[in-house]
């Protein structure tokens, strides 16, 4: 993986390496409801995943990370810069790619025209080089055959890739992706994984645990606006070590039980004596953590 050291505001002569993304005590409310509650985390370089149930606050965190939303409280540093200062926010935006959860597009545009417009707004001023870059990102998401068709004629997953291509313009230092795999077929997901592993720093929200285990080197689990777990995916799985068992019938003592394709019942929770313990997966760790947080 290629990674460039990211430097923050410096004392003359001294180069300080700052994490590409750092949140300290970040809080954001909408009316009375607190969507993000005193979150502190750092991310990158590499791919960092945000997991959490619907309404946990992942998109709100990502909108803050993308400079789209300002926190009520707390300190945000992106690429070593302070996005609350207009000049530094502009500099961050020049080096940032953002895929929102519901990226609307212009149905009458072609993918090429739309991404070209985004490139104009991203200050790609040289026309020929801009078009080359637009073509590059569209090809990178597999849109070589569809780039000149009207967006209104494209399928949902294809549209998602158009928005993803727009986020990839200029090979950003920080990629903020809100559920990038939504609507993608397995082949395109594979392509996405390889794109992500070539990027510098990626922060992405996802509901696909398989995505997390295959590309993320770090994962944060967000529940009710707070981070309940931070660590490598293996660490999340390890939370359930000794607390996953299987047998041939449901177990009411388990916090979660489900029937596996093999026809056995898999349980997470406090195993009864003599239970047939099995190796935990990331799903097990996640389910156990969310269930315990709810209690």
């Amino acid at each position: 993986m290629t990674s460039r050291p990211v430097t923050g505001p410096t004392v003359p002569g001294v180069v300080t390496a700052a994490p590409p993304l750092s949140f300290a005590g970040v809080t954001r409310s909408f009316g009375r409801s607190r969507a993000v509650d005193a979150v502190s985390l750092t991310a990158g370089p590499g791919v960092v995943g945000l997991l959490g149930p619907n309404g946990a606050g992942k998109s709100t965190l990502l909108r803050i990370a993308a400079t789209v939303l300002a926190p009520d409280r707390g300190e945000v540093r992106l690429l070593g810069l302070d996005p609350s200062r207009p000049d530094e926010r502009l500099e961050v935006r020049r080096r940032l790619g953002y895929l929102p959860q519901a990226p609307g597009l212009y149905p009458g545009f072609t993918p090429f025209d739309l991404v070209d417009y985004v490139a104009v707004l991203k200050e790609h001023t040289h026309a020929a080089r801009r078009r080359e870059e637009v073509r590059r990102v569209l090809v990178s998401v597999g849109l070589e055959d569809d780039m000149h068709r009207k967006i209104r004629r494209l399928s949902g997953g294809t549209r998602q890739r158009v928005a993803l291509a727009a986020a990839l313009l200029g090979d950003p230092d920080l990629l903020v992706l809100d559920e990038p795999a939504t609507g993608l077929d397995p082949e395109q997901r594979l392509r996405l994984r390889s794109l992500l592993s070539q990027a510098r720093t990626v922060v992405m929200a996802t509901h696909h645990i398989a995505e997390v285990s295959s590309v993320c080197h770090e994962v944060h689990v967000v529940l009710g606006g707070r981070v309940h777990f931070s660590g490598p995916p293996a660490g999340l799985a390890a939370l359930a070590a000794g607390r996953v068992w299987e047998d041939d019938r449901p177990d009411p003592r388990a916090v979660h039980s489900w029937l596996t394709p093999a026809g056995t019942h898999r349980h997470v929770g406090e195993p009864p004596a003599g239970a047939a313990l099995v190796a935990p997966t990331l799903d097990d760790g996640y389910l156990l953590l969310t269930a315990e947080a709810r209690r």
């Binding site: 935006r93 953002y98 990226p103 609307g104 597009l105 025209d113 417009y117 104009v120 991203k122 903020v176």
Partner: protein
Amino acid sequence: MSPAWVLPTVRATSWWPLAVVACCLAVVAVPLHAGALGADGPADDLLGPVAAALAAAAVAGLRDPAAALLAAVPAPAPTRRTHRLVLLVPAALVVWSAWLALGDDVRPPDLLALVALVALGLAGALAAAGRGGAPVGASAALAVGTAAPVVWVLASRAGGHGWDAHVGALLVVGATALVLGRDR
């Protein structure tokens, strides 16, 4: 050569509200011109509603389905909004001038009155967008902005003063909103 943003902005802008209003005015203009609806020009009574409709249409043209996708590009939302207004306001003024030309001369104060109504609509949209991070181009905030000129003209009529009596104040409101809402 025009700047690179012009052509895509022309294509991304919602022109249909302005086109609908222009078509309706064209339809009404025919009998008016023939003297069927009144004196020798558009009745003064119609000026306020026509200006409100044009201002509302210009503000509605800011609707931006891709607002979320563009939320974090270096060219900030106010710049992109200005790009659109640079196209929409002159277009609305052309239609307005054509309407005014049916009756009296086209006077600069009348043109400014339309700009003031657009400014009021913009102020409404920016205020409604709030701090929630919802883009102004999203439908909810824009609905408020679109309604503002119409409500103003109706309220002026109910209050017994001319819809164009406070152009200066409206321009100040619009300018203040632009400054306060520069991050929206």
